[in-house]
Symmetry: C2
DNA sequence: TGTAAAGTGTTGCAATTGCAACACTTATTA
DNA sequence: TAATAAGTGTTGCAATTGCAACACTTTACA
């Protein structure tokens, strides 16, 4: 169950979904899920699984814009999907719940006293997503790969509360997240190790500065 | 009056602000407005004026993360401001309304029937901000300055509904938005002109492809 | 209205980076 | 468990980019 339903009982969630006229779909791996929903005004909640939002540029290249995981929301509330340059692919079996945006304020739902909890959860989810986006923008606007790496490591250290922490994504994913070439990133990491800025043991990073 | 109060009468807005215990502050130009509010959980609405959110890196450089204009919101709902590497400076005289996040669902406010309009406006604002962020991420993740420029121009053409449109920011601001060196960007624009991709007359861009 | 500030365009040069092509290790799954 | 896919590390080379230092134009404002 995602954060959208935090502090709600199972019964309340059931009622909510019913009144919101939500529907849940389970997709197999590698399915393009935006195919026929691109122009609807809806909220999609990832109940389980994960997605990749990709941009197809003019010469056929595909760039990963972002990865979406269980608990996150997407849809028109988060991304203008009104062009066919964007595709959204399931990375694994993925369960998604759809809610039409206008249902959020329909006449019946606001009668329920737990409605305010739902709204607060939704605002929190959007807010969290926005925080993540801004955090990423902060890194993406840095000039060099070195700055991006150190920016990322610093932020992780801050979150984990320690100068030693475990990476919870692969280096390949990190390169994609920072939008740099993976091999160049590896090279820069080597330099950082040589120059004594960091120490790396498998997925364990230690900041030495 | 910002979008947060769309579809609300002046009387309702007044009531709302009162119940939300909001307060409005007017700042002069070049004021650091985050100085003593960084750890509060609040929403700030820019009533008028504009701001620059900046990142101060380890060697004292300042990078503009984003510009915030009238009608936009910021604060903990949009950005984790829990480090002192971020500063937020007024670009001109700027009026800001602060609302504590928890007031949004206080006992008194939910009694008002116009409350749901306010909530819907807030969700819309967050959603718009998120759309803008994701749009920018799409551009920032592009590999070359050329791709970023064409990506930006395409998006503008799509918004304006024409292959000819007027830039509503300066080229200097565009370079900052795309996070590339301004002079390098100008060089790339020259190449695009030479190669017949675009035509530029002052602020009027025409896409020739 | 005159002066300062901001924006624009250009170019040489060095540094960074992406790309490509490897070899090798670790996960995944049929 | 064997085979396939995904992830990691390295390196040469070329292309892109940032930086710096200009000159010039436009805008802001005292």
């Amino acid at each position: 169950m995602t954060n959208l339903f935090a502090n709600l009982s199972e019964r309340e969630v059931k009622k909510l979904m019913q009144v919101l006229k939500s529907n849940t779909i389970t997709y197999r791996k590698n399915i393009n899920i935006l195919s026929n929903r691109t122009r609807d005004d809806y909220i999609a909640i990832i109940e389980s699984g994960s997605l990749q939002l990709m941009f197809n540029d003019y010469n056929g290249n595909k760039t990963i814009i972002e990865e979406l995981n269980a608990g996150e929301i997407f849809g028109s509330l988060t991304y203008s999907l009104n062009n066919d340059e964007i595709t959204c692919i399931t990375k694994e079996e993925t369960q998604i719940t759809y809610i039409e945006y206008n249902q959020i304020t329909n006449g019946e739902i606001i009668k329920n006293d737990f409605y305010i909890i739902f709204v607060k959860n939704l605002i929190k989810l959007l807010s969290d997503q926005l925080n993540r986006c801004n955090q990423r923008i902060e890194l993406l606007t840095m000039r060099t790969t070195r700055d991006k790496l150190l920016g990322y490591f610093n932020h992780q250290a801050q979150i984990k509360g320690s100068k030693t922490f475990i990476m919870n994504i692969t280096f390949t994913e990190l390169a994609s997240y920072l939008s740099v070439d993976r091999s160049s990133m590896t090279r820069e990491i080597s330099y950082l190790k040589e120059e004594g800025f960091i120490k790396i043991n498998n997925k364990k990073i230690t900041l030495l500065y």
